[in-house]
Each structure stands twice: as structure tokens, then as C-alpha cells.
Amino acid sequence: MSSSLFRNLSINKKLAIVIIFSCLLVSLMTSALFVGRDIISLRQSMIADLSGLAKVVGINCKAPLEFMDTETAGEVLSSLSARPHILQAVLYSQDNQVFAQYSASSVTSEDAQDFHNHLKNAHSLLLLEESYHFHKDYIDLTVPIGELGKRVGAIVLKADQDEFYAILVWLLYAVCGIFVATLLLAFYFSSILNKVISRPILALAEAMERVRREENYAIRVDITSGDELSVLVEGVNSMLSGIEQRDEQLFVAKQVAENANLAKSQFLAQMSHEIRTPMNGVLGIASLLMHTSLNEKQLKFVRTIHNSGESLLNLINDILDFSKIEAGKLELVLLSFNLRDMTEEIVELLSEHAQEKNVNLACLVELDVPAYVTGDPGRLRQILMNLLGNALKFTSHGEVLLFVSVEKAHNKDVCLRFEIRDSGIGIKKEKQEDIFAAFSQADEYTTRKFGGTGLGLAICRRLVDLMGGEIGVESVEGKGATFWFTTVFSIGSSSGIAIDIQSEIATAQYFDASILVVEDNLTNQIVAEGTLEKMCCKVDLANNGIEAIAAVEKKKYDLIFMDCQMPVMDGYKATENIRKVEKENGTERVPIIALTAHAMKGDRERCFAVGMDDYIAKPVREPQMAQILTKWLSVK
């Protein structure tokens, strides 16, 4: 306990304690030695003095004793009054009887009697050699008179110890003085040591603390001495410069790596985008081609082209999404939407595929799940499609179940738990964490058998992260798997701008409308024209904004699809112009639908700002187009 108390003290205090303690110990021992020696020699000299006195008195008492002259003996004894420290003297005769005695004036008769009684109990005085005893406040000394064998008596002196105690007190003061002097010296020396040893250490510690706090490795500690401490300080300094250099190198390396990564991501995004545009052309044309009069073989080929194109596009979309997320460019939109409708639609959408595989697909939404929530419906849909698609992919029989429940609700926020249960092949325990990492699948065999980029779950995980939820899987190999994720939504309302979920189950619809498509890309023109004509629309084409304005002036259209980015004049400017003309002429407002390459948040706002009515993300597909037409033409 005490040792740990000492260990935790500062070096200053430790040094001070050690020095003071050792100084005090040494002075204590020295003092004890000298005081002890002094006491002993003092007593010896007192005894010698007393014994000499007793012998002189004894010699003078010898004749009175021999001739039994008590008066003379008394006179001799009374000469002791010249020595005030002699309190009492008792002269004993040969037969051990008190012959004569003397008491100093300061001695009371009781004290005198006490001393008498004390001596009475003593042994035969004549047999004794010279002896003395120390008592608390007096010394008694017995000296026999006459030679051994011819003893004529003995004299006992009682002396006070006042002088002895006075010297003792003086010694005590001296020792105290030495102690105080030692203490002061020890303090002085420890303060010197403090300067020499602990101050540089403290300075070092302070510098280290500053380095830690400011994370500034350019700080150096001053070297003040040439001893081991300076070696320590030099070591610290060189360590700091090492760290500084390494930090710089690391910073440069990090910058290089980050730049390289960014370049890679940008390249990936660019490539995907570039691939997507012609791909859309392929898909659009293939889709159109399917609806022309083809024989069965031709139809099979076209369908194959279309399906392969679909797969490729999905792949590219995944990569694009992933690189967007990696680059931190993905932003969630916040819209109120009907959750129940959306889940049902998704299940309905996948039910055809499920039926083909002979797998039951069902959706179960608990009653307390709110119908309308506010969140990003597109991304939620993407996650659900991905997980359900995976579940179907790895399930050859049995069922796939989508289960939605409330994890917890707090005020206006609700945390929903989505579970996708399947009776498929399951996932090995040790692989369960890995499958959410990018480019990872359960194993190579799976990849070969089932295909896929391995990006789906990674994207899901990142999207769920963005939505403030968690994702996970519980599975026993061979006995199916349950993928689950949670997301936080705020409870929405039906009164808000409800965005209709893009439905891919568009039944063939026919619109008798005249439509202007403003698009600079020839492929897109062909696709859009073909798609619209398939729905019995009359289509005019314009290559840029100027042509569009001219066309609008010439002819009245029911609806205009306007590409945003075009040479000569872009869609925004053209729309502004058209709106201006409409206002000036007081003609009817034509719905203008924007065609955007990538549905970024800012683009949408800009579209609405210039007077467009809706927007549709490229590539333009038949179902979306049908939906837009239904929406805007039926309004009309």
C-alpha cells in the first residue's frame, strides 16, 4: 500500500523523500551515538566525582568511627553542604548501624526517612565493594571505609541528577538543532537535485504531452546537460524526427493512393456510363425488334440479345451504383411512399420468375407497420429486389418469404425490420460475414453455378448503412437462409407527394397522341420513336433546342420529351423558351418531360425550375414511358 503510494509520487518528491530520509537517519544515528556516549561519560564522571568525594569524607570519618565519636563524624559530614548536589549522606559503623548522617536543607524529613528505609533493605554494606545505583532522580553511592577485612564502616552518598538532566536537556536541544539543520540542508540539496534531474525529465514529459495533444511531431526537446538524460532526450528527439519523416512519407503515399483510387472510381463510373448508352440502344432496338413480325427462330435470337443486354445492363448498373457509393456521391432522397403497395408490387414483379422455378413467393407485412413512410423508395426497392432476387436464385424448391415488422418505434420515427427467408442452399457459418464484402460470393463454385458480380450484397450493405440501419444473415448450410436488415423511416402520410413506384408490369397501352422527342442521340431517337409508335403515338423528332422551339411553333403537341444535355441549345433553355412563348401567346401548356442521363438530386430541381413537369431517367424503357404517358395524357 505504502510502497505503491511512494511509487505514484513525482520524481521530485521521491528524491526529496529519499534525501531527507537518509539525512535524518544519518543524523539520528550520529546523534544517538554521541548522546549515548555523552550520557555514559557524564555518568562515569559523576560517579568518579562522587566516589572521590565519598572517599575523602570516608577517610575523615575513619577516626571518628574508630573512636565512636558521632559528633565529629557529624561535623565531617556537614562539610558536604559545600556541595549542594549532595542531598544526603549516611555513615554506617562496622556493625551496619547508622553512625551519623547528613541531609541538605532542601531535603524534607520524609525524603530522608525514605532513603533510610531504602538503605535498611540493602545488604551488609561492609561486605560490599564500592557500588552505585542510578535512580530516577538521584544516584546513591556506597563507599566502604577502611581496607578489606578491616572495614570500620561505610559511607552512602545520595546526589541529585539536576546537572545530569540539565546537560541532557541541552543535548536534546542540540539534537533538535541538528535535525532542523539537516532538514533544511536536505531540502536545499533535493531542490538542487530537482533542478539537475527531475526538471529535464518533467520538461521531456511536458514536451511529449504537447506532441500528443497537438499531434505536432516537429516539436523538439532542448538538451540542457551532458549526462544520461541528454541521451534520453536525444533518443526522443530522433524518434520524433523519425515519426515526422514517416508521417510525411505516409501522407504522400496516402495522397497517391487516394488519387489513384479516385481516378479508378471515376474511370469505372465513366466507363459504365459510356457502356450504358450504347447498351440502351441495343436493348431498345431489341425490344422494338421483338414486336415486329419475326419467325420463331428470329424471335428467339432477338430475345436472347435482349436478355443478354438486360443482364449486362444490370451488371453495369451495379458497378455504377457501387462506384458512386464508394466515391460518396450517392445521395438518398426523402419521399413519402406506400410501403405496403411497394412490397406487394415487388413480390408481384418477381412472382413470374418464382413460378417458373416452382418456388412459393409470399409477402407478409405486420399490421402495426405504417402504410406510409418517408425514405428513399428507390433504394429500398433496390435492396429488396436484390435480396429477393438472391433468395430466388439460390432456392430451387420450397418458398421465399418477405416479412416486414416494426423493430422499434420512437415518436415519429420507426425502425422497420425486413426479413427475407428462403429454403435454399444456405451459407456456411464462416462465410456469412464475408458475403457482404465487395466482389465476394460464398465460393467459386457458387459463382460458376449462379453467376453474378458479387456486388449486390455489398451495395445492399452500403445502402442500409446510408439509411442508418443494419444488415445481417442467419443461416444453416443446406437449410436455407434468412437475410435481414433494418432501416429507420419517419412515418409519412398519404397527403404528401406520393411517388408512384415504377411499375414494370405495364400492360400494353395505346395512346393516340402527337409527341415531340427532343434528343440529339440517334440511337435514343430511334428507341424513343419506336417505343412511342408501338403505343400508337405520332412522333416528331428534334435534334436540339432550337429545332424543338421551331417544331413547337409549327405544330401543337400533346407531350414533349426533352433531353437535358444537347448541343446548340440544351433542354433547359429550350423549355424556358417554350414556356415563354406559351405565356405570350396564351396557348395551352404542353407537358414537358425531362430525359436525364443520371437522376441526380440537383438535376430534378433544375428541371422543375425551368418549367418542366416531370422527368424520366434514361435509358428510356417501355414501361416507364407508358406510365408517364398514362399520367400526363390521362390528365389531359
Binding site: A63, F67, L77, S78, S109
Partner: protein, 180 residues
């Protein structure tokens, strides 16, 4: 205050001393015992002229004239006593005529009538004359035992011992009752 004053003075308590004799009769047996002891012890305090001894080992001779009043007591005391390295010897002389060389001579009161004769016999030799006869010092005696109260004390005649060529220690003089 009175009490304090009392202790201001040096005081000594005199206890009953053992040289007290039962009666104040100087010839009682107890008184004679004490005198015998004193007689022997005188030898230690008296210095004789060198001519009194023929050698350093010569004994000190104590003579007793006439009828011996001490008996064997004095022999016993003398046997164990040594004065300045010399033994003490007791010699008894039946009358003054038979007195030979001695250093101390005790003259009992019974021989007081013969003092003149004895003095003549000694004829100025250095002899310590001791007696318990009254007024002995006026008859050229040196030490005379007396009764003081119930105690045996002695008087010393300075003129007589100086005349005899003896030196008596001041210590002995200090304990004498009276010096004439």
C-alpha cells in the same frame, strides 16, 4: 514558615551510639572493652621517633602495668590489628620495676599511686602514657579516658606528648573530647 526554617539548617540525627555504657562507671567491663579497643587503635594515629624502633618490622609494644583490667579482650583486638605495617604486641608488667621498653603504656587507676615511679623508670623515653585514672594528665599523662555522660571519651595533653617527642595525628586530636 517555622517548619521551613527548621530545615534551612543543616541537621544531623544522633542515634544511640554503641560506646554508651550501661552505667557511668568507667571500670565496668563494657567500659573496659571499649578502652581496650581504643588503646590498640591509638597506635595508628601516633608517630614515634625513629629511635623508638630498631627496624621497620618491629612491633608496637603496648604495656599494661599492674593488675590487668582488660583480660584477654585486648589481646584479641591487638592480634588482628596492624598499625602502619607493624604488629601490635601486648606485654603485662606486674609492677613499675619490671617495666621494659614499650611504646604505649596503660596505667590502670589502681597504679595511679605509682605514677611518679613509673615516670622515673621511663625517664623521658617516647612512651604514650594512657590511663583511666582521674586527673592523669596533670601527672604527665598523655591520654586520659573519661566518662562523658554515658560515653567513653578521652582527653589529650598536647604539652605532655610533645615533651615525650611523640606526634599525634590531627585526626585523633579531632575526635578527642578535650585537648589540654
Amino acid at each position: 514558615m517555622r517548619y521551613r526554617l527548621l530545615f534551612f539548617f543543616i541537621f544531623f540525627i544522633l542515634l544511640p551510639v554503641r560506646n554508651t555504657v550501661a552505667s557511668n562507671e568507667i571500670h565496668s567491663s563494657r567500659a573496659m572493652e571499649i578502652q581496650a579497643a581504643f588503646l590498640v587503635k591509638f597506635c595508628a594515629y601516633v608517630k614515634w621517633p625513629k629511635s623508638a624502633f630498631s627496624g621497620p618490622d618491629d612491633p608496637i609494644i603496648i604495656g599494661i602495668v599492674g593488675r590487668d583490667p582488660f583480660g584477654s579482650t585486648v589481646d584479641k583486638i591487638a592480634r588482628s590489628f596492624k598499625a602502619k605495617g607493624r604488629n601490635v604486641e601486648i606485654r603485662r608488667f606486674s609492677n613499675s620495676a619490671s617495666i621494659t621498653k614499650s611504646h604505649v603504656l596503660f596505667i590502670p587507676s589502681s597504679e595511679q599511686k605509682n605514677i611518679c615511679e613509673i615516670s622515673e623508670v621511663l625517664s623521658g623515653g617516647s612512651v604514650l602514657l594512657v590511663s583511666n585514672a582521674p586527673a592523669f594528665l596533670e601527672q604527665s599523662g598523655i591520654i586520659n579516658f573519661v566518662m562523658v555522660g554515658k560515653k567513653i571519651r578521652f582527653n589529650i595533653s598536647r604539652t605532655n606528648y610533645q615533651k615525650a617527642g611523640l606526634v599525634i595525628s590531627s585526626k585523633l586530636l579531632a575526635v578527642a573530647h578535650c585537648i589540654k
